[in-house]
């Protein structure tokens, strides 16, 4: 291998210039949440488990009709998750609450994509197939997807589902927040148009957060004094209020810090303008130059 001094310095000059072009320090991590996005409030005390939202969702998104749409009985015997055929499902939980005759009282909880303000899936997707829209919707663009399923690994709510039985063109399936509909003036997501008990309230996130807080304030003792989704993983578009602890209806306890923050901070502080790889290249180049020069005298010619 030939390792001439001229080649080395030519290359190092380029590398050095690139490093010098660096700004003094990598910028601190900033939330990329859209400023005036939409949100949706779920009031678990109002939900009666009619599953009309499931039906509306399937219709709007051209998915198969929900499993046993008319049945509000046995379908609740098992806990369901959103999957490749249903973007939203309602589950029933008995949390130990009793009515006046000591019968257990059910709590129903709808589950769908939370449309995080700083979504892990969007940060994770290597090809940018997932994006956070101005409306607040986390959009999926199948034309960029390679099917690595890292979004599913990243999602703290375990929402993205996969078409595991499609061998060639499987898609990631998840709630779209009906962004085609909500992008239009006065448009609502499918589920929110139909709820007969007004358990779902759609609007600007800032507004519905106030609605939630007002409800908590005006009904002391009825609700747990907490809006789930206001701060979880840096905030979500979907917000929940409830009279039973959130963990009991499968809404997980999560840190308030946006989950992409750590990995993005590491990535950008190490790799912005490729400063660290270039520096390492320079150091190794110098070492190589020196160690080969020492041995140059006995005409050493190493192979690859």
């Amino acid at each position: 291998m030939q390792f001439s001094r001229r080649n080395f310095f030519k290359f190092m000059g380029v590398a050095g210039a690139s490093v010098a072009a660096l700004p003094s320090s990598a910028r601190a991590w900033k939330s990329k949440a859209p400023p005036d996005s939409y949100g949706c409030l779920v009031d678990l005390t109002r939900c009666v488990g009619c599953r009309k939202c499931e039906e509306a969702c399937s219709e709007v998104n051209k998915l198969p009709a929900p499993e046993r749409a008319d049945c509000q009985c046995t379908i609740f015997d098992r806990k369901r998750r959103p999957d490749d055929k249903a973007y939203t499902v309602v589950n029933r939980y008995f949390t130990g609450k009793l009515d006046q005759f000591d019968n257990p009282l059910p709590t129903y909880a709808k589950v769908q994509c939370m449309h995080c303000q700083d979504p892990s899936c969007v940060s994770a997707c290597l090809a940018g197939a997932l994006t956070k829209d101005e409306t607040g919707a986390v959009k999926y663009d199948v034309s960029r997807c390679i099917g690595c399923r890292y979004c599913m690994v990243a999602c703290p709510f375990e929402i993205p589902a996969y078409e595991y039985h499609n061998p060639i063109t499987p898609k990631v399936m998840k709630c779209t927040f009906c962004y085609d509909r909500i992008s239009e003036q006065g448009g609502l997501p499918g589920c929110a148009t139909i709820c007969p008990t007004e358990a779902l309230t759609f609007g600007k996130r800032k507004t519905i957060l106030k609605v939630a807080q007002k409800r908590l304030k005006e009904n002391p003792g009825k609700y747990i004094d907490y809006v789930y989704g206001e701060k979880e993983v840096g905030g979500t578009s979907w917000l929940y209020i409830s009279s039973v602890p959130f963990e009991k209806v499968n809404l997980p306890a999560l840190p308030n810090k946006p989950l992409p923050k750590l990995s993005e901070t590491i990535q950008h502080s190490l790799f912005s303008y490729l400063w660290s790889p270039l520096a390492l290249f320079g150091v190794l180049g110098a070492v190589m130059y020196k160690s080969n020069k020492v041995q140059e005298e006995p005409q050493n010619k190493g192979g690859a």
Partner: protein, 400 residues
């Protein structure tokens, strides 16, 4: 010492090769099933468990175990320890084949294999996986470039394709000649680039899980996960060389090359020591030792990783008697490799649990067949290449 590699002059079809062939056929059937019935048809993957054996072993472990390539290149070429040159070629071959099979494993695992080129055009620089993908893609090519001179050495001046293909002889001859000449002047760039790219993606493979703090068990979830992945890759590089050199030299009855392997293990004491120090330091700083006695399978897997995969081999290597014995060195190297394998499996499979909906995971037979089939194919091709190309040290020619 002059390094002289040469093609092997040995019988190719041995019982071992036939066993490989059986695994390859089983794997091929499973792969056909995957591309006709879908990933769900041959795997136990689910929405709660999107990554399983294929990502944990074929990809993550494959990358880690290919670390012998850049660690030996760094030692022999960059740090100028030419004494170790005889092992750089087999290590380079392992790395080139290893990364090739990492990519093949990925092609099987991702849902839209035909779309694998898309990240090259659609960039998300926030994504850890994007960086890993770009580094692996470039590094794979770097490895091929580094390997080209070995092909040239064998065939330059005597390209002789059979039959009608003979019309291409002059063309291939020219490519080999020009390629070899260019590479001779530029090889130092590829060698350094290979080390830089390896450091980047070996560490970033650990960063992959940092986005999922609620899913990875606290015994493994740490902000220094990328550093642990990098240092363990450093630590496993030379044991991997020891492991494969011992296996190949004893199964092909070549020189054991102990004169090179013994000093390599001395460096390993230092590298494994750094990894061990970081692992223990991390456990004490974050206070995760509180989990150690809870008896869950995850904790037990962590204990096995730490004890058998790190502490035992490290202590073994401290003894000169072990370092100078072929068996001792081989055992220690195997334990270190096993430790890194278990670590990657722990991070991507055992330690991973989706808190809401995970019902447990064990790989389906189809997944296991694919993984074993890929490993067998890799070994098979390795065998072919060392038979026909000058990779291994010529037997009985070395005067130590």
């Amino acid at each position: 010492m002059e390094h002289k590699a040469s093609p092997l002059n040995k019988k190719f079809w041995t019982p071992g090769v036939l066993v490989m062939l059986v695994f390859m056929i089983a794997g091929a059937i499973a792969i056909i099933a995957r591309f006709t019935g879908g990933i769900g048809y041959v795997t136990n993957l689910s929405n709660a468990r999107p990554w399983g054996l294929w990502v944990g072993v074929d990809v993550a472990t494959g990358v880690a175990l290919a670390a012998g390539g850049f660690t030996t290149a760094a030692l022999a070429h960059i740090f100028g320890r030419h004494y170790y040159e005889p092992v750089t070629r087999p290590a380079l071959l392992t790395a080139a084949l290893g990364y090739t099979f990492v990519v093949i494993g990925l092609l099987i695992d991702i849902g839209r294999s035909w779309a694998i080129w898309k990240p090259m055009f659609y960039w998300n620089t926030n994504s850890v996986l994007f960086e890993v993908a770009v580094c692996v893609a470039i590094y794979l090519n770097v490895l091929y470039f580094e390997f080209l001179p070995i092909v040239a050495e064998q065939f330059k001046g005597r390209v002789n394709l059979p039959g009608i293909m003979a019309v291409f002889n002059p063309l291939i001859e020219m490519i080999l000649k020009i390629g070899d000449a260019i590479l001779d002047k530029t090889m130092w760039i590829f060698i350094i680039l290979g080390v830089v790219l390896s450091c980047m993606h070996q560490s970033s493979l650990g960063s992959l899980m940092l986005v999922a703090p609620t899913k990875l068990h606290p015994l493994w979830y740490t902000p220094i996960l990328p550093l642990l992945f990098l240092t363990s890759a450093f630590a496993v590089g030379y044991p991997m060389v020891v492991f494969e050199t011992t296996i190949i030299t004893s199964s092909l009855k070549l020189d054991s090359e102990m004169n090179i392997l013994a000093p390599l293990t001395r460096i390993t004491i230092f590298l494994l020591g750094i990894y061990m120090f970081l692992k223990f330091g991390d456990m004490f700083v974050r206070g995760t030792y509180i989990y150690l006695l809870d008896g869950t399978y995850q904790t037990n897997s962590f204990i096995i990783e730490m004890l058998l995969g790190i502490m035992v081999p490290w202590i073994m290597l401290l003894f000169e008697k072990v370092r100078n014995s072929r068996k001792g060195v081989f055992t220690a190297a195997s334990l270190i490799i096993g430790g890194v394998v278990i670590n990657r499996i722990n991070v991507f499979i055992v330690g991973y649990k989706s808190p809401l909906s995970d019902n447990g995971y064990f790989p389906a037979p189809g997944e296991i067949f694919v993984t074993l089939g890929l490993i067998a194919t890799l070994m098979f091709i390795y065998r072919i290449i060392v038979t026909y190309l000058p990779v291994l040290q010529a037997p009985k020619e070395v005067s130590p």
